[in-house]
Each structure stands twice: as C-alpha cells, then as structure tokens.
C-alpha cells in the first residue's frame, strides 16, 4: 500500500463522490423544501443512463445525449410530481410510499425495455485515454467527471446565493409559511426544485455511466449511498450534500479496496459517527 494506492483511491473516491453529489443534491433540496423523501431519485439516475446510452448508440454527441437524458427524466419527474406528489408535500410518509411505488414501476419498465444484462457505457473518445503518474494509471474520464460535477456544484451554489429564485428557495426551506405569507410563490419553487433534482440525476446517469455502467439494481445499490450523503451532510443543505458526497465517495472507495466483503458496511461508520456526535448532520441546523 504505497502512495499510488492512496492516490488511486482518493481520485476514484472523489470521482464516485462527485457523481453521488449529482444524485444527492436533488434528494436533499427536495426534502428540505417539500419534506418529500424521493426514493425514486436513483431510479432517475438509472433511467438517465439507459436513455443516454440509447441516444449515444444513435450517434448523438455524448454531452448532448446527457443533457437530453436529463430533460427526459425531468419531464417524467415533473409528471409524477404534479399528478401525485404535489398534494402530499406536508405528509412525508404518503409521498415516500408513492415514490417507492413509482420506483418499483420504473425499475420494472426499464427491465422490460432494456433487459437484465449490464450495459457498459464508453466515455467520449477524446477522454478515453488515461493519465500516467509514476506507477499510477488513472482514467482521464474520472478527472473530467470530478471537474464537471464541481462546475455544476459551483453553478448551483451561485444560483442559490445570488439569484432571486435562489432567495425564494432558501426562504421557503427556512420557513415556508412565512414565505407564503409574504406573497412568495412557493409552489413555483417546489416545481422548480423537483425538476432540477430529476434533471441532475438524469443527466448524471449518462455522465456516470462510464464509471457505474447501467444494470437493473444499480439504483438500489446507489440509494443507501445517497441516503448516507444526506444523513452525513444534513437534510436540506446543499453544502452538506457536497461535503457528504465526497466523504462517502472516499469512504466507499477505500472500503471497497481494503475490505471488499464489507464495502457497504464501511459507509455505516460515518453514518453511525454522525448520528452519535451530530444527529442533524454536518451542515444541518437544529430543528
């Protein structure tokens, strides 16, 4: 276990963690704003991967396909939100069970459409090489994913801090009733945030495809990681989602490398520590 081992896993963990951020950002914002715990969020990711792959095999540009996959996922997410979830944003258990029923249906539909075999997704040609650093070999695409996700995170933070819409979202997370009372159109913020969450997860599906590939059950594997991110970071906090994602990504990478039989179990450690020391999460506020 030389320096190369650590560097390899640090970079791998950061790449995986930045994918987790694309999933967890929507999860935490939707929960913070509407108290909806969206169990279909990782199914959105898988849908994005499958749709994006279908577009790429039809000779679409990789980045364009990723955006389109995000938009298609967003349309589906908005349909489910406006038809069913919208009525239940004060009732966490109902909305949670609805998203779970929806995830079951979506999973089965994807299995029917794309079959049970794992589908590998290749990165765009100009990023398919690898970087060599001493005896460390590292895929270029992983670095690209880290850069892209951090760029998306930067845009999200800027939008949340600097735009009027961001102000409305933050105000509604803090005190929905007061925001409503002041004449803010909170409903618009609800739709927007749910759409954004689905868009990021769907687009992330193809972006992450070369790392995670796409297969039935991938969403179930990602779900506890995304949940661990939200627990560690604090529910409703975007900064928490970013720090939590990178942390869980790193723990997951080292766990897989050092204790292959317990790679899932290793994420239990940060979750247990956070619950013992700071139950509201790193960036969560005391209720």
């Amino acid at each position: 276990m030389g320096a190369a081992f650590y560097l390899q896993n640090v970079l791998g963990g950061l790449a995986y963690g930045s994918l987790l951020f694309l999933i967890a950002a929507g999860l935490t914002l939707v929960f913070g704003l509407m108290r909806i715990l969206n169990l279909a969020q990782t199914a959105f990711y898988l849908l994005g991967a499958y749709v994006g792959l279908a577009l790429v095999t039809h000779h679409w540009n990789f980045w364009l396909a990723s955006g389109a996959a995000g938009i298609i996922t967003m349309a589906l997410g908005l349909a489910v939100y406006s038809l069913f979830l919208h009525r239940f944003h004060t009732d966490p258990l109902t909305s949670l069970l609805l998203t779970l029923g929806f995830a079951l249906m979506l999973d089965d539909a994807m299995l029917a459409l794309w079959g049970g075999d794992p589908q590998s997704i290749s990165p765009p040609a100009f990023l398919s090489g690898s970087v060599q650093l001493g005896n460390l070999v590292f895929p270029e695409y992983w670095l690209a994913v880290i850069v892209i996700s951090l760029a998306i995170a930067a845009v999200l933070f800027a939008a949340l801090q600097r735009t009027m819409l961001g102000v409305i979202i933050r105000a509604s997370v803090d005190d929905e009733e007061m925001a409503r009372g002041l004449g803010v159109n909170v409903n618009r913020a609800f739709y927007l945030v749910f759409a954004l969450g689905a868009l990021l997860a769907g687009a992330g599906g193809l972006l992450g495809g070369p790392i995670t590939s796409a297969y039935p059950g991938l969403d179930g594997e990602l779900l506890p990681l995304a949940f661990a991110v939200v627990i560690v970071g604090g529910m409703g906090s975007l900064s928490g989602a970013l720090v939590g994602s990178l942390l869980i990504g790193l723990v997951n990478a080292f766990g897989k490398a050092m204790f292959p039989e317990f790679s899932y179990f290793t994420i239990f450690v940060p979750v247990a520590l956070i619950m013992a020391l700071r139950p509201q999460g790193l960036f969560g506020r005391t209720p």
Partner: protein, 335 residues
Amino acid sequence: MIVAVAGLVVAAALPKVGVPTFYVSLLTQTFIYAIVAMSLDVLVGFTGLVNFSQAAFFGVAAYGAAIAATRFHVASFGGGMALGIATAVVTAAIFGLIALRAEGTGFIIITIALNQIAWGLAYQWVSVSNGDNGITGLTRPPLFGLDLSGNTTYYYVCLGALLVALLFLGALVRSPFGLVLQGLRETPRRMRALGYDVWLYRYLALLVSAAVAGFAGVLYAWYNQFVGPVDLALDLSTQFLIIVILGGIGTLYGQLLGALIVVFLSNGLSAITQRWELILGAIYFVIVLYAPDGLVGLGRRIAQRAQGRRGSLAPTEPLLAASGVALTAAEIDEP
C-alpha cells in the same frame, strides 16, 4: 371474539377439507408475515415509530438460525429459535442506538439506510452469508418430538405461533408499558414532562418488536428451507409496512387480513405475469391514495357512498393521522 373463534376453527379445518397444499403453504407464509406485520404495528401504530428496517430484524434472525444450523450444528428447535431471536435483538440494539437519535422523518431515513446496509452485508459477506446464493439445505428441527417436515404439520405450528404472538403483543399494548408507548405516540413532550424516559421506552419497544420479528424470521427460514439477501431487502420492509397500512394501523389483528391479501396477491401476480413488480408498484399507489386507513376505512367510505351521501373515495386525513403519527407535528413537538 366470535369472529376470532370462527376464524380459528376455519383455519384449523382448512388443511383437512382438501385445500391444495399450494394454498396451505401460502397460508403458512401469510401467518409468518402477519406476525412480522403485528410486530411492526407495535412500533408504527402504538409507539409512533415508522420503522423501515423491520425486514432486517426478520432477515438476520433467519440468517442467525440458518448459520447456526449449517455451520455449528444447532439442530434443536429451541436452540435455533433462541439464537435467531438473539441475533435480531442484537441488531435492533445497534440500530436503535443510531436511529433513535432522530425522530419522525429523520428516523425513517436512517432506518432505510440501515436496512440497506444490512442487506449489503448479507449480499457481500460471502464467507459467512454465502452471498447471493444464500444458505440452502436447512431442515426443520422437531418440536417436542413432533416431526415438522410435513407442510400440514408446519402449517399448524405457524398458526399456533401466530396466536402466541397475537396474545403476547395484545397483552403488551394493554400493559402499563404499552400505555406509556401510546402516550409517546401522542405527545412525546408531555410524557417527558411526566418523567418518562422517552428514549428508553422507544428503545425497549424496538427491542421487543425485533424479538417478535426475529421469531417470525426463524419460522420463515425453516418454512422456506432457504435464506438469502431478499429476506432482508428494503422491498420486504416496505411490503411489511404496506401490510400494516392495509390491515389498519394500530389494530394488530387486522394485520392478518393485510398479510393474506399481500401474500396471495404477490404470489398470484408473479404466477400470471412477468411484469408483476409494475403491478405491485401500482397497487402501492392505490393503497396509499385510497386506503391509508386500511381496508376498514375504505369499506366505510364505500358504504357511505352507497347510501347516497356525497364524498370522495380518497380520505381527507393524511396517512397515519388517524393513529396520531403526524410526523411533522412530532418534529415540531420536540425541542
């Protein structure tokens, strides 16, 4: 009471009047699921804890008994049962320390994560759990010299187990301990002001519930003669919760009806179509939208409609409001 006795007589007579063994087997599964659903109802309906890791307690007990039997040659009924239940209680003791730091929705999120982690352990820890292949080759140990290998005999054992669990949990929720739990469900803050250790009572409720779920888990391991990661999957935890909602939250005995419907429906669907998960997901939607207060509530609304009174079939109360588990209110209640 009369319904209960009549139901018991019918249940006892069923295998004797030529009901096909396939249905006897499904009914056995129904009894086992009903025990788990009742144990979950103690948490959801009586304590106000919506636990999404009940399948983890059920599954680790099944694994505990299976591993004890196949590796350590624990061949007795009592030995396997005791080890299985102990595994479930230890798991709940660990889960409780973590999950009970949160309340309301936070508790839900953490129990979902913990259930998935338990599943991951069963799936990946191949040297102990045999991974996705699961543990096979289990045999049912004799009970007081009675050979349980026949499905009809085992049906009666599980029917008896259901009665024992129902009587035990029924007595539990009526006991002073159970009354404290119901107080916690309604107003945790007031109970704290009255000097009750809220955390401790919730923790004990979790341990008792896990012990009963573990009892069912061991019965299931012997019923199926196989234990695999599906037996502690999150999907199964949700299925147990759906049974509780369908049977009526806070009714205990209603869970038998909920289990009957869910077991027969999922088996029936998987027999006729490959797309049964799609239909099951749709059924979740229907139950949550139209019968969050259980079949009894739905029946009442249909009857009102038949009498010509206007009203929506969908209830106006949010899910669980009837039993007092208003999650947002619980969160506001706690400082």
